[in-house]
Symmetry: C2
Subunit: 329 residues, 2 copies
């Protein structure tokens, strides 16, 4: 493994000149440049990022924190982040926290120890106090889930409005007994989506029935099945269900058909996220589309700006209702 010294020697120039060639500076005479390039080729030299990074005091790595890689919701976001990162010569370290504070702390150390230059946090369960403290000295962006007034810039959607839109759609097609499969309301987005749900009902003079609101610990398929089981056992069975995640909704779909009922004739279902799989079910799933890819690109751009020392502002992106088989009689 050649280093910059050997290249300099081979080319008969100083290391400074080699470095200049490496970094594309135009202060090098083209004759010299060619000598250096020849030497580089001859020694098949590759500059070490370890040296460069130490010197520049950067790692050119961005840390992306997600609760679990199993929810496809995050995949599109990650793609967006990755594409921006690559184009700006950054790489991304993808880390699953499993919403485990201990594990999270290990990952936070990555920025403290300069192993990464900044963090995009997508974990709703993140310890906000720790995050705020970390943000004093390091570059941090929140994506999707965020903390109000934390001073940490975020990119997200209007959860309350989106939820309102979903429920209003169900009401419009004739439903009044609408259940909500929500996640734990310790999360901001869960509280916001519940409020949207309630607002849609109340606006139409429909009484909110607390028995119709089921909380789940995670956003997975199994949680959706379990929640739907409870709903099907209700005395006054709902005719529609709004689940705050597609995976939950798909679990609900499955449980409904397992019980010999039909979607949407017996029970209509609406999900949230528009993951790829929401189009693969039978029937296909009506859902709220989030601009996940865009969210990712914006989060990455924000983080990189912040790393450069620029001011960045939070952004709220648009959502959209996608009507498909699960609400189309």
């Amino acid at each position: 493994m050649a280093n910059i010294q050997q290249v300099a020697k081979q080319a008969g120039v100083s290391v400074a000149t080699v470095s200049r060639v490496l970094n594309g500076q135009n202060t090098v005479a083209s004759k010299t440049r060619i000598k250096v390039e020849d030497a580089i080729k001859k020694l098949s030299y590759e500059p070490s990022m370890l040296g460069r990074n130490l010197r520049n005091s950067e790692s050119r790595i961005l840390l992306v924190l997600i609760p679990t890689i199993s929810n496809p919701f995050y995949l599109e976001i990650i793609k967006g982040i990755e594409n921006v990162a690559i184009s700006q010569n950054y790489n991304i370290l993808l880390c699953e926290t499993d919403s485990n504070p201990e594990r999270e702390n290990i990952y936070f150390d990555l920025v403290r120890t300069k192993m990464v230059d900044g963090i995009i946090s997508m974990d709703p369960a993140v310890n906000v106090e720790t995050l705020i403290k970390l943000a004093e000295k390091h570059s941090i962006i929140q994506c999707s889930e965020y903390a109000i007034d934390s001073g940490i810039p975020y990119v997200t959607i209007d959860n309350e409005e989106a939820s309102y839109l979903a429920v209003k759609h169900l009401i419009k097609i004739g439903h009044e007994k609408i259940a909500l499969i929500n996640s734990d309301e310790k999360y901001l987005y869960a509280r916001q989506r519940r409020i949207g749900y309630q607002r849609a009902l109340e606006e139409q003079g429909i009484l909110v029935n607390n028995d119709y609101i089921i909380h789940t610990q995670h956003l997975g398929f199994e949680n959706g099945k379990q929640a739907m089981k409870k709903i099907l056992n209700l005395e006054d069975r709902p005719t529609a269900v709004f689940a705050v995640s597609d995976l939950l909704a798909i679990g609900a779909l499955k449980e409904i058909s397992t019980n010999g009922l039909h979607v949407p004739n017996d029970i209509a279902v609406v999900g949230f996220d528009k993951i790829d799989f929401s189009n693969m079910t039978n029937p296909t799933l009506t859902t709220i589309a989030q601009p996940m890819y865009k969210m990712g690109t914006i989060a990455a751009k924000m983080l990189i700006s912040q790393i450069k020392g620029e001011e960045v502002e939070s952004i709220i992106l648009d959502h959209e209702l996608v009507i498909r088989g699960s609400t189309l009689g």
Copy 2:
């Protein structure tokens, strides 16, 4: 941001002693150790990995190359890799190649420039010659897809046997007209799986009908739908389909029911991988289970051993047939 010098000064010792404390060496008197620890706390010092990595000539990052993050098959493998990596104080850089050689080369540079310590390649479309050349100087493991006699250690399953098992199951439950949805046979696993398919048929004296073999460019849901469309248009329509990926099979499932046919009564379907979603469809999917998590842990352990300079041997893991709704009348 304090550095090791300032800590040494604060504690009234040399930088060497601070370094010893940092690295848990037992040659430090406990009195001195306490002084150092106090100084570290007081200055809220965090050692810089940039300095350490340069000095140790390592990055403690493993590169994981996957063709696409959209196929959940990779997710479980990644989890396995990640858990082993973390336990050994490594981190993983996850990179999508999109089976694009250009992009791949950018990622290969990561190991050439010491940005990562080694590579786990899972891309079937990887340029084998480049990979072999790279493996001369760097640590590389192949996972799932591999190159025979390349000298690069790999962990995989017996694709031919697995495919044979799947088709034999279909024959056993009474099918003779069995279609194969395969991917491009430029990939080794595709060739192996086709051989297994043929062997199962021929062993039972069933003639291989080339019209029954459909090739797709990718392993996605849409590809499965398109392939199934072709199969449904066949004059002598098959009564069963074996798809070499669950996503393909799920696409097939969808296309079959779109056409008003029933699975498994009209057409039975078998997939491959046992991704989570294969249990969420209606009917659930019969499939070949690959030990994905285990594959990931083994690949990671192999790579880390190789980085340490140890010899490692390739491993072939067990597969299993999981019989579910799509082949259960």
